[in-house]
Each structure stands twice: as C-alpha cells, then as structure tokens.
Symmetry: C2
Subunit: 225 residues, 2 copies
C-alpha cells in the first residue's frame, strides 16, 4: 500500500509518515505543489493525503489535475480550513474524505483503511463463493465453471443474499435494496417474489440448488455452512 503525503509542514508530514510506516504503509512525501504534480503524474498511489494550503499553489489545483487523470479515487483532503464551502468543493472535485487539522493519527489511519477497503471492493469485479463465481462487470456468473447469464437484478439479489449468508432478509429489505435509491415503505413489493423465483430457477438448472431458503413470514436467507 503506497501513500503520498502532500503537506508542507515537515513536522506533521514526518509524524504522519512515521505512524503510517509503522502500520505497514509505504509513504512518499511531497512538500509543495510542484513536487506533488510530478509524483502523481509519474507514479500510482493507493491513497493521497492532500493538504489544501501549499506554499506554491492551492491543493485544489492538484485535485483538478487528479480528476483530469481520473485518479481521484483515494484522495483524503487534510486542511485547516473548515468552512462548509471548501469541504463541498473538495467532494465535488472527487475527494473521498476530508479531515480537519488538527487530527489524531489514529483517526487518519481508520479513514485510510476504510478508504482502501472501499476502493478494493469497488475495484475488484469478481466475487466468488464455493462453486459460484460472480463477475459484476460482465454480469455473468459461473457455476462449476459453466457460465450462466443472470440479469442485473438477479445478480444484485444474489450478491445481497450471499453477502448476508445465514441471515434472514425481509421482503421489504430486499425490495429496498433492489430498487436502488427511492424509498418505499408503502409500496408494492411483490416483484421480489418474481426475482426470487427466477434466481432459484436459474441456480437449480445450473446444479446449485437449495441455497435459498424461504423463512415463512420473515423473508429469505442464503443458507450455507
């Protein structure tokens, strides 16, 4: 895990570096905007800690450049400015997190770890489980190395169930999950029956039967070891 620290105060940069190195990260340091520019265009980092106030330029310029290069994933802004505006501008430019100075190093560590977890999950397009292998991007599922086509909603449902294995998920929870953003509550959730049925059917045909259990009155669960 490689981290770039863009920060002009040497004291702070040093203590961050020491702390992170002690937690198995590899750190590099850029003390000004120019140096930061050079590094981000040349190397790849898992995470960039970006101070907004630099001696030779504004951190937002760097953020814009990162956005142009499509590398905003993994940026944590570190700033003493704490107005809502700068915060919002940071997020709009694609930063992932925002930390106001002064902060605890442990707080920083937690956020870096959370960010890397998010990033990895987002980056990897394969989720596998027993004889089942799901490729989220291509919307295909392999069962015992035979490819099966599922629709987007079917994969979504499958992942939701698998991700909560041995836990009962209510019909309304599933409905909310599948329908994405818009909240429901008073809506019709019967389409869940249809998706459950289709998913069960396709799994059966592929030989992966009986993972999905109906729990009468409560919902469904993915049952397994």
């Amino acid at each position: 895990m490689k981290i770039l620290i863009v920060e002009d105060e040497q004291q702070l940069a040093n203590s961050i570096q020491t702390y992170l190195t002690g937690n198995d990260f590899v750190c590099e340091w850029a003390a000004n905007a120019k140096s930061a520019f050079d590094k981000i265009t040349t190397y790849e980092y898992d995470c960039i800690l970006l101070d907004l106030m630099l001696p030779d330029g504004n951190g937002f310029e760097i953020l814009k450049e990162l956005k142009r290069q499509n590398k905003t994933d993994g940026v944590i802004i570190i700033s003493a400015k704490e107005t809502l505006e700068t915060r919002i501008e940071g997020f709009n430019l694609g930063a992932d997190d925002y930390l106001t100075k002064p902060f605890h190093l442990s707080e920083l560590l937690v956020r870096i770890q959370a960010l890397i977890r998010r990033k990895n999950f987002k980056g990897s397009n394969i989720v596998s489980f027993n004889e089942i292998e799901i490729n989220i991007l291509s919307k295909t599922v392999g069962i015992n190395n035979t490819p099966i086509d599922f629709t987007k909603k079917e994969i979504d449902l499958l992942l939701y169930l698998v991700g909560n294995k041995n836990k009962v998920l209510s019909k309304s929870a599933i409905a909310e999950h599948l329908s994405g953003d818009m909240a429901d509550m008073l809506d019709n959730h019967d389409f869940v029956y249809a998706h459950i049925k289709n998913l069960k059917k396709k799994l059966n045909e592929a030989g992966s039967g009986d993972y999905i259990k109906t729990v009468y009155g409560l919902g469904y669960k993915w049952q397994h070891d």
Copy 2:
C-alpha cells in the same frame, strides 16, 4: 432545530451548547443515561450527540433503545474511544456519524449541518422548481399543476439534471448515475439518448420545453436563470 446533548462532562456539554445556540440551534442536555432515556422517549430531536461513556451506563444501550424506537436518524457519536471496533459497532447500530474527542466545535457544526441536510432531503418526498413539482415517492411530476407520469428513470434523470442546473453533465456521468451501483467505464451508454429524448418529449408536451440543452461533445445541462 432541536439537539440533544448526551454528555456527562459539564464543561464540554456547556461549550457545545453555547456554540450551537449561537448558531441557531435549540439545545437540551442530558448528563447521564437515565436522563437521556427519559428525554428520547418523550421528545423528538433533529439530532442527538451521544457520548459513549456515561456514569450510569454505556451509550450503546441508548443507541439500541433509539433503534428500537426507530429514531436512529440523526445520531452523532462523540467518543474518546477510537478503536475501529467501537466505530463499526456504532455504525451498525445506526449512528450517522462518529466524532473522536477532542474535536473542534466548528467540525461538529459542519457535521450536524451535513446530517440535517441529508435527513431533510431523505425525509421530504417533494422537490419543486419553478412550475415543476416532483414527488419522488409517488413518481409523479406536476407541471403547472397538471400531473404528468414519468417513469422512475425519467424522474431520476430529471432530478439529476435539475440538481446540477447550469452544469454540463457528461453522457457517461449520467449513465453511471442512472444505472445505480455497478461501475461501467467500458460499457455502452447509448441508453442515455433514449431517456433524454423521452424526458424532453414529456416535458415539451406538458409545456415545459427547452430546459434541457445539448452541449455538443460534452453532454447535457438543465439551463435556467
């Protein structure tokens, strides 16, 4: 805006209260778990600041009670404990945010404001704009007081455009927004054309023409004052 401060250190509670009152919030203070219990079952708060370590009980107990009462929306945990575990447990119990002591009061304010914005946006199902009024729940849109039916994706697109008025949104950004979770990048985004066309058509028929401008080579924008 009413805020409950659950915190046993009087010094801290006082300074929070003073600061927030100065920023147009109404504050109440609970110095222990028992008092907090009484208040949350009796009154409604827009936001609850919850210290985890209290003289007569653990803050998690209060959080559980809030969950049981379905009032977890608006809880910010304030704690000196800063392990990943307590943090995760807090989020699992439905807390909205987590702040480690010591913190800046301005940081707290920003978070409260962000939280209340989220909460309001989530709670309200009506978004209105000029002669257009959108009810997210019923998936209906009124234009000049005439109801028009849009599909879910059409409303989604409409809201996305309106929410970014006068900003150009690229085709791929729109595609990503509409398709929900799954990341694309290398995928076909032509379905955006279809939705844009349908939306334009329905808006036109309702007499609200010409808000959506095509910006050649860049995307689309909702143009307005």
